[in-house]
């Protein structure tokens, strides 16, 4: 029953997002994992870690699209404001100073978004190492590799924690730590790794959740700015002018109005991060279930859906 539900969910995601390359990747990942979910309990541990690792990979790819969109929205909103307000600056020197200052600030924003993306990719590498450690035949060097990845993650997080976006410091949005106990695993290298670092990894996943909570808020502001300026330029002014309306005016109007709705509901990334963290705790406690994985898929699909709608509507005409 649960399996058929999961298959149906994956099938829905296939039909809904056929056009998206990201979705193809996501779907392929989960279809590859599906037989393992449905197989008996012989390799249950391996299956759980494998599926979680696949979910982590899909999450990383989908959040990269959100990070790209956040960077694009920040730059486009700033460019539209600069174009709109340019006549407010009286001299060439004022205009030069303004745009140099804006470029400098936008570069800082892009560096931070890049750090958050790198942090996510390192977490993905860590989950891949865990999946490999779940195999009792895993070489001992894998534990060292996992530690190396963890050290790199730890090197990035202080910068992300202390950074701000929108109106809040990312560190202030980190959810409370979850209490959990590492289960006994037959693969001792895996158990040792989880005992050593799973609590810290749970905190790193909480940092991802906080980062996407904050990114969502700034993305909403930048998109609102962008779409409002486009609404004035592409919809209101042509309509007000005593001339024929441009071809495609009605379609453009619809796109902008629909994008405003999509922009206001772009919280899916933080939900996906929250579900990934919950699932990690369930994995460590050896109780990761199909509904947990299905929950991550649904959140990732929702994230892709929202990002695609925004991207479609905010393409500069």
């Amino acid at each position: 029953m649960a399996n058929s539900h999961l298959k149906q969910e994956i099938s829905t995601s296939v039909s809904t997002y056929r056009r998206s390359h990201l979705c193809s990747v996501l779907t392929a990942l989960f279809l590859a994992g599906l037989p393992q979910i449905t197989s008996g309990c012989a390799a249950a541990r391996l299956t759980q870690f494998h599926n979680f690792s696949q979910a982590g990979a899909a999450y990383t790819k989908a959040t990269q699209a959100v990070l790209d969109e956040a960077g694009t929205a920040a730059i486009e909103a700033d460019s539209l404001i600069a174009q709109k307000g340019r006549d407010g600056l009286r001299s060439a020197d004022e205009r030069r100073q303004f745009i140099i200052g804006e470029n400098q600030e936008l570069r800082k924003r892009l560096v931070l978004l890049g750090d958050i993306g790198r942090h996510g990719r390192l977490l993905q590498s860590y989950f891949e190492a865990l999946a490999a450690l779940a195999d009792p035949k895993a070489p001992a060097t894998l534990g060292t590799a996992a530690q190396g990845v963890f050290d790199s993650i730890g090197g990035l997080s202080p910068t992300i924690k202390s950074a701000s976006l929108g109106s809040v410091k990312i560190g202030d949005r980190i959810p409370q730590a979850t209490n959990f106990v590492v289960q006994v695993f037959k693969a001792k290298a895996l158990e040792n790794e989880l005992k050593a670092r799973s609590k810290a990894i749970e905190r790193e996943l909480a940092l991802q959740e906080a980062a996407f909570t904050v990114i969502t808020s700034t993305l909403e502001t930048d998109l609102a700015v962008q779409l409002q300026l486009e609404e004035t330029e592409d919809v209101i002014e042509p309509f007000a002018a005593p001339k024929d309306l441009p071809k495609g005016w009605a379609a453009r109007r619809e796109e902008i109005l629909r994008a405003r709705v999509a922009a206001a509901s772009s919280k899916a990334a933080q939900e996906a991060a929250a579900k990934l963290r919950e699932s990690f705790v369930a994995l460590v406690e050896n109780r990761l279930s199909e509904p947990s994985i299905a929950g991550i898929i649904a959140a990732i699909n929702s994230m892709l859906n929202s990002t695609e709608a925004i991207k479609k509507a905010t393409v500069i005409q």
């Binding site: 404001i81 307000g85 407010g88 200052g101 202390s162 109106s167 410091k169 502001t221």
Partner: protein, 112 residues
């Protein structure tokens, strides 16, 4: 209020302001204003956008003291500005309220 809260509320106000200043309603209002006010409205839009980017990128621990030192002016400025943005009565009143808040922000982070 601690410096993190002052920081957040100021940035939040700047975000709300830039959204309002790019709205079709504000655009219509400005188009009906005299040329000098129109020019000033464009300049203030750029100042608000610049202030929100600079403040968002600033390290809180480096500006915590200045935030505390300017707490009352910031809070009064936010309140007055939000009231004007809600009313949207006259372009001049909104621009005056924006100027008051952004001038206080300029004491905390260097603005162009």
């Amino acid at each position: 209020m601690d410096s993190a809260q002052i920081y957040s509320s100021t940035l939040e106000q700047l975000n709300k302001t830039v959204v309002r200043l790019t709205s079709p309603e504000w655009d219509a209002k400005v188009q009906g204003a005299p040329p000098e006010q129109r020019q000033k409205a464009l300049a203030e839009l750029l100042r608000v956008q610049h202030a929100r980017l600079v403040l968002a990128n600033a390290a809180l621990q480096e500006i915590a003291e200045q935030l505390k030192a300017n707490e009352q002016n910031l809070l009064d400025g936010q309140k007055a500005l939000q009231a004007e943005l809600d009313k949207l009565a006259t372009v001049e009143a909104v621009l005056t309220a924006i100027g008051s808040l952004v001038n206080v922000v300029a004491r905390i982070v260097p603005l162009i």
